[in-house]
């Protein structure tokens, strides 16, 4: 990890992503970007703003609505020495092109015995909370993290977003870069202000596969990723007022999972709550809990808890959606229940 120079510029994740893309395109002629509406429009979620003007239509390609073809093409480009960055507009659309992602991109290096690598980035928006209905609000972290050969990152703030994007492009492997719509900094989506951070202008990388302890504490470990890091931080602030010291771990990468950081924090605090806005079962929360509880994990003082989106489609109407989404209050309540049961 290159150490970055300090700066006071504050950027949204969208701007941090487009800045990282622009800097890397300027530095490395093999980088090109493609996807739907990433050219003239600058990306529905603003991740490619300004790139078409600066780098032209050869390197910034608006594609047909043909995810299978362009994800497959990215694999061929990667095999041929390029470093494509392909946007899947919503992660919810993975079902139309997953084969190219998980059977081609993810396995190319292995099938070729290391002779043909697959350096590409798939960037995709995740998450709900703004009433977009069940086919535009999913997270699917575990869907991607379960399948080998892919690295999967999800930044919770702009600083990490830029560093992870630069790492992702330079990685010789397919990296799925998931950005959460509630953190993206597009005015029309509402944005958690804490995700807008200072971002060094310089070139720097944030390592893939390394979680961050974003708040230290002693009584309980709250593990989150993307948006839920902010729920955890809000909960930690509320808990602090009641004298409970919560440590917050931002996973940043779900594959490969930084099990050491998770275990160390759980061992330190002896209590674990995982917060995940993806479907609960067979999800991130179970993997984190298993990582801590299994042989070789860490000893806990109380049974761990998970606060996740339940195993139901995402409803449209806000009264229902917000009822089931994780939030800071649910985290506080869980921690309090845990402490009451075994102080």
């Amino acid at each position: 990890m290159t150490t970055a120079t300090t700066t006071t510029r504050r950027l949204t994740i969208a701007k941090a992503m487009s800045e990282a893309l622009a800097q890397e395109m300027a530095r490395d002629p093999s980088v090109l970007v493609m996807g739907e509406d990433i050219g003239k429009l600058g990306g529905v979620f603003g991740a490619t703003q300004g790139l078409l003007d600066r780098f032209g239509p050869e390197r910034v390609r608006d594609t047909p609505i043909s995810e299978t073809a362009f994800m497959g093409a990215a694999v061929g480009l990667a095999a041929s020495g390029m470093r494509p960055v392909a946007e899947l507009m919503f992660v919810d659309f993975f079902g139309v092109c997953m084969d190219a992602i998980y059977n081609l991109a993810a396995k190319q290096n292995y099938f070729s015995g290391g002779k043909v690598s697959c350096p590409m980035v798939i960037m995709t928006s995740v998450g709900g909370g703004y009433g977009d209905g069940g086919q535009h609000s999913q997270c699917l972290y575990a869907t991607f993290a379960h399948l080998p050969g892919l690295k999967v990152v999800i930044p919770s703030n702009a600083r990490d977003a830029k560093g992870l994007m630069l790492s992702a492009i330079r990685d010789d492997n397919p990296v799925v870069f998931m950005f959460h719509k509630a953190l993206q900094g597009m005015g029309w989506l509402g944005t958690v202000q804490r995700s807008i951070t200072d971002v060094p202008e310089a070139d720097y990388t944030t390592p893939i596969g390394v979680a961050a302890v974003v708040r230290e504490g002693t009584d309980v470990t709250l593990v989150g990723l993307g948006l839920t890091v902010h729920l955890a931080l809000d909960a930690a602030a509320a808990l602090a007022k009641t004298g409970v010291s919560a440590e917050v771990v931002d996973l940043r990468t779900v594959s490969p999972l930084d099990r050491a950081t998770i275990r160390a924090s759980a061992a330190k605090t002896g209590r674990l709550v995982v917060i995940d806005d993806d479907y609960m079962s067979f999800g991130v929360s179970a993997e984190v809990i298993a990582t801590v509880c299994e042989h070789g994990g860490a000893r806990l003082r109380s049974p761990p808890m998970r606060i996740a989106y339940p195993d139901i489609p995402v409803p449209f109407t806000p009264v229902m959606e917000h009822f089931v989404l994780p939030n800071a209050e649910k985290v506080v309540a869980a921690v309090q229940a845990m402490l009451e049961a075994a102080p």
Partner: protein, 343 residues
């Protein structure tokens, strides 16, 4: 089979049908007008899509009404229709319950699905209407519905609507071939509004008219220029009759116009200057009214029909606005059929 340029007479014979088409176009446009008003309420700060009485994305159909009425004029409640993320005009022309539809869009308990679906997921089994937010994914289900009708020896058919952008998705190809192999009674209707979000058809589609693609499936392909309800009526009439008579599928591509942005909030920077104004000058509804008047329809008859249609929409919106929200706990109902709530 070769591509046919629609040579339908511009003067349809059925007076009532054309009156219905006019009134239904007016109704659809008025519906969208009221959606627009409601959608913009409370979108603060900075056009926050999560806020107001109608959150999420909103895809309006202004300008595309001729497609809906020209096709649906031939349909019965037993015929299935699958529509897209831009479904209102088609739902209205197919006879979806206006009150329940409006209530659904407002996320109310009285909505078509009690607020679970939202504007991209309108299901009304009473008239066999469904839609989906994933591009081109309505086509497979339409082929299935058509096969079901064929297997039960009914003369019911299915119609799948899609955008011209969707014609580049793999599902389009597979569904057309399957329909042809099965000789399923289905009509594929492409609404070519020249854009898929920001990407112009000419920049992403290798042929000028998708109608030519029908030849690849041994089915008739019809191109209908002019966004003209009467020509659409005629072309669809032939296709529907063929399907009902066991003559198999047809592909129709209609040149239409999108008078609004892709979704509300779209800045439309990708449109050439003056384009929207030019399109609005060719607004199909006043043009149709003028034609009907010129052909001897009485203004009063047109106004009466339109007035009634508008009143229905007004009543639907009053109903929808006044209706209750569901209880949050209802979110767990209907995950599985024939079972209680999931958790």
């Amino acid at each position: 089979m070769s591509t046919l340029e629609s040579t339908a007479p511009s003067r349809a014979t059925n007076r009532n049908q054309r009156l219905w088409m006019y009134a239904t176009m007016v109704q659809s446009r008025h519906f969208e007008a009221l959606v627009k008003v409601a959608y913009l309420e409370g979108k603060q700060p900075l056009f926050n899509m999560a806020k107001g009485p109608i959150p999420g994305e909103m895809h309006l159909s202004d300008g595309q009404e001729p497609c809906a009425v020209g096709v649906c004029a031939h349909l019965r409640p037993g015929d299935a229709v699958t529509a897209t993320h831009r479904p209102h005009h088609i739902a209205i022309a197919k006879g979806v319950d206006l009150k329940a539809m409006a209530a659904e869009i407002f996320g109310k308990k009285a909505g078509l699905s009690g607020g679970r679906g939202g504007h991209m997921h309108l299901f009304d089994p009473a008239v066999n209407f469904a839609c989906s937010g994933i591009v081109a994914q309505g086509l497979g289900p339409a082929v299935g519905s058509a096969l079901a009708a064929k297997l039960r020896d009914a003369s019911d058919i299915a119609v799948a609507f899609l955008g011209e952008g969707a014609a580049n998705q793999g599902a389009f190809h597979e569904a057309l071939n399957l329909a042809a192999v099965w000789q399923a009674p289905v009509v594929f209707v492409i609404e070519d509004n020249a854009y898929g979000i920001s990407v112009a058809k000419r920049d992403c589609t290798a042929v000028e008219s998708n109608a030519i693609r029908a030849a690849g499936y041994g089915m008739p392909g019809v191109h209908v220029p002019g966004n003209d309800a009467d020509r659409i009526l005629a072309a669809a009439g032939e296709a529907v009759a063929r399907a009902r008579a066991g003559g198999g599928p047809t592909l129709i591509e209609i040149e239409t116009t999108r008078l609004e942005g892709h979704f509300m909030g779209d800045a439309e920077g990708y449109r050439p200057a003056g384009e929207v104004e030019a399109l609005k000058a060719r607004d199909p509804i006043p043009a149709y009214r003028a034609r009907l008047l010129a052909e001897g329809f009485e203004a009063e008859a047109l106004d009466r029909a339109a007035g009634a249609a508008i009143a229905e929409v007004d009543a639907a919106f009053v109903f929808a606005r006044r209706a209750d929200y569901p209880a949050p706990e209802e979110v767990f109902e209907h995950v599985f059929a024939g079972e209680g709530a999931s958790q």
